[in-house]
Amino acid sequence: MTESVRPEPDVSVPPLLSVPPAAPTLNRTRLEAIARDASPEFLIELAQLFTKDVEERIRLLAGIVSARDVTATAYAAHGVQSAATSLGVTRLRLLAASLEKHAEGEDWRRVEVALERIQSEFSHVKELLEAMREGR
């Protein structure tokens, strides 16, 4: 399970709340604990479920954000956050929490920035989890 070096975010966009630049993509301690308490095979099943579920949630989130629906956006972001919390996908969790807060503040500029970063971060997470499944 190796993490590639992530490009720094574009400085021309406003900073997002609660997302430290150094936040890790994955919480390895959490993943190892899940594998230990259940089994490595179970962790892979869980990661596959996460990937499938969160991919759909992010797709829905994008549609909701464009409709500027505060409640639905906050709820959809919370769903991503919840799933990421359980598996230990730290940076995605922080980005989703940030999007939720900005949506509640109706700061749509930052919401859109957060959404872009969530989409980008999720692609990265997906690669890492796929690599984990293949034992790379």
Binding site: A38, F42, E45, H78, S82, T85, G88
Partner: protein, 488 residues
Amino acid sequence: MSTTAASAVAHPPTGASGPSTSSTGELVALVEDDPTTRKLVRAWLEGAGYVVAEYDSARAVREGLGPDTSVACIDLHLGESSGFDVMGYLRERDPELPTIVVTADGEVQTAVAAMRAGAYDYLTKPIDRDCLLLSVHRACERRRLVDRVKNLQTALGGGRLFESIVGSSPAMRELSQQVDRVLESDVAVCLLGESGTGKELVARAIHQGGPRKSGPFVAINCAAIPASLQESELFGHERGAFTGATQTRLGCFERARGGTLLLDEVGEMSPAVQAVLLRTLQERTVRRVGGNQEIPTDVRIVCATHRDLRSEVDAGRFREDLYFRLVVYPIRLPALRDRVEDIPPLIAHFLEKLRSRGQHSVRHVAPDALEALSRHGWPGNVRELENVVHRCVLAARSDLIEIADLPPDLRSSGEPASGPVVLRDASETDEDTVVPLRELEERAIKKALRVTRGSVGRAAKLLGIGRATLYRRIAEIDVPLSMRENAS
């Protein structure tokens, strides 16, 4: 939205350290809309021996929560509905069900609100496995204790329960003796009698009078359950066993573990279920529908029927081998028309029962009304009598039930007489002595104060009246000072 059906994963924890939190199959309701969290929490709980039923919304809980749930684990963020809604629903449905709420990290105020709303415990995300298992373990322990206290309270009232169903007639004295003979053993008792004769009350008395009284009493009415569902109700089912089986469900045999199982209207059981029941009784193990595991049973079986089971066997509708398993000790309950002398004390009992709920102040029945009630055939037996008494109380305009207060079909045969009849309590033994109600009340109050050593609160509870009422009564009667030490 229906209850969820995530793929079943149950890997026992390997080398996991932490508190001893294993379970013997208690049912945990997991209310969570995020499938990743559900799958993870389910695996942890199943690894510790719990049976998990998943619900992804408040609606799914309302539609599918089983009666045998030991603890509910609820995410407060449930999408369009709130975990607080689920808590409210559960509190109405089962006030003693412990709920553990799950909140996002940092939502301390929400957790505090949940605790104020009656949550047993709270956990924050990411959920820690050991914290989860410890909390669920403690909640289940609390649930067991509450159930045990309830069972013991019911058991302590067992004598009163039996008194309430035994009149002074020879038929009921014989019934009482028969019940006494079967209390201490697990002999299979079959209660035979018409509908409304009190078969379930006698079954409860057998349970409460025997060594299993601190265990659960579970009753299933086979006539009220479609044949297609009888097997699942009795023996439980695994998730996915059939269309609609979205959750694992414990059957009556598992729910009655350590106690008594009443198979009411056993004559209505389908032939297929009779075969499974026979195997269960022979092997003393139960297998859930769709399951492979043989689960040991530990129940006393009491069955009841209004049918002549022997005739059912002869007609080929009831298995003979099962008949011999179930009808080891048959007890026949008399119809009410065969013990009319019990009608006045039964009416007194029902009037007292309604009075204790504060629903009326009726104490007497006019002689012609009583005569009419005694002449009725009572095809619905004691249940019908109780309903009629309730109707009469609603119709009565004073503390006296008059002939005009009776339902029209019962009014025809009353003869006018000189004055109201004072109804005797079933516990009175001298049939010729009529004790004024005032005196009976005074005796009861003095006795209650004596046994509670003057505690008005406990005495009021025993008497089934409010504290204020008891204070008023004490002021009206001559209670010795020694008894009223705590009452002043």
